[in-house]
Symmetry: C2
Subunit: 166 residues, 2 copies
């Protein structure tokens, strides 16, 4: 691990399976960069790689779910972290709520969001979602932390060796 | 705690003291909503209340620091969480680096950012910063989690009792 990755690992993040939907097309992917952005209205912000295969579906469908993973659910994090374009949902039990986005029955909690804005941010896009529903499914379990996933996402190859000068 | 706050507490966040600078004016405030937004370039996203007294300084100075707090540093989180407009930095040991934004010597780690974009997000603003420097100061300490701060920020009064319908 280089020193810049070591530094970025001091940011505290969770691990989520983001569900996307457009008509009858659904898929999901693992993400760590999710945070609350506003109280009134209730907004979440999500950072997604603009080249991600799920981004088009999110953009067309304008809705997404945020499924909070529990500590220990590394199998789910890995499954939904795969870059495959196939329907990763086939092997997981899920339901739909208000938006049609997939809600994983094994999650600790889920949020349903209507996409209300998207903004460029380098090689990613910040998607802002209005939270229109949500539920805690397991009030005892602890959420998974991003640090728990080690190098599951291959991030170690993505950090530069040094900062660009100002 | 109402059920919506209970749900939002399942998002995993850290606790940071965000330093702002504009010429010789410096201040700092406690924030939880910070995440990585991009790898190339290295960007962080920060959510700040648009009415916050530090927002003007950030906007004019276009630079900020992100000081990662350690578990147990609730005194610092509370101090910089106060809404006071006075110079909260007077009682803390800090230094400056590339941007002039305050870097707390007691932090676990810090990042220095140049503000490169800001986007509206409800009652907050998403500020995107290019990370141009940073360092881990204490490689043994654990970062503070937002949940550790309880209701230090008074968030319990900010969540609505129910979701707005779609």
């Amino acid at each position: 691990m280089n020193s810049i990755q070591d530094l970025f690992q001091r940011l505290t993040l969770g691990v989520y399976v983001i569900g996307v939907v457009n008509g009858e097309t659904r898929n999901a992917f693992t993400a760590a960069c999710v945070m609350q952005a506003s109280y009134d209205p209730l907004l979440l912000a999500l950072s997604i790689n603009r080249l991600h295969s799920c981004y088009g579906t999110l953009r067309r469908g304008q809705a997404f779910s945020v499924n909070v993973l529990k500590t220990g659910q590394l199998d789910l994090a890995a499954h939904y972290g795969r870059p495959a374009r196939d329907d990763k949902l086939a092997s997981t039990s899920w339901m739909t709520g208000i938006t049609g986005a997939p809600l994983l029955r094994a999650a600790l909690a889920w949020f349903e969001c209507e996409a209300v804005a998207e903004y460029p941010a380098g090689d990613h896009v910040l998607v802002v979602g209005k939270v229109i529903g949500g539920e805690v499914l397991d009030s005892v379990a602890e959420p998974m932390s991003y640090r728990e996933t080690g190098d599951l996402d291959g991030a170690s190859t993505l950090y530069p060796a040094r900062f660009e000068p100002k």
